[in-house]
Point group: C2
Chain length 69, copies 2
């Protein structure tokens, strides 16, 4: 799943550590989500959206649908 966290962080000049603290997870979680190693839980997605003052849909992008065969 793609996301715009890095850009939104850059706009605000927040480090990964600052964002992690704000949303209440470890820095490694932010790195892994930001770099697409895994997807956040829905509650973490809400927390990130709240931190940036955005909607989830404005930050995270659905994966392309699977080919049907």
């Amino acid at each position: 799943m793609k996301n715009r966290i890095r850009v939104l962080r850059a706009e605000r000049r927040w480090s990964q550590a600052e964002l992690a603290a704000q949303v209440g997870v470890s820095r490694n979680s932010i790195i892994s989500i930001e770099n697409g190693h895994f997807d956040p839980s829905l509650s973490l997605a809400f927390a990130i959206a709240d931190a940036f003052g955005c909607k989830i849909e404005d930050i995270f992008e659905r994966d392309p649908p699977k080919p049907k065969a």
Copy 2:
């Protein structure tokens, strides 16, 4: 986390099994999410939103913020 899945399903007259099939998870996952036993992953939340033609924010409601002490 609260959600409006049961209402949205009722409006469309979909069973839990039908919704489960549409979004590609087991029926038990739908029951557990619908009844608040656990939260969906972000990708499942997107799939549910797509099934209903809604946004995530229109289906799922944030938990109230934790008291600060």
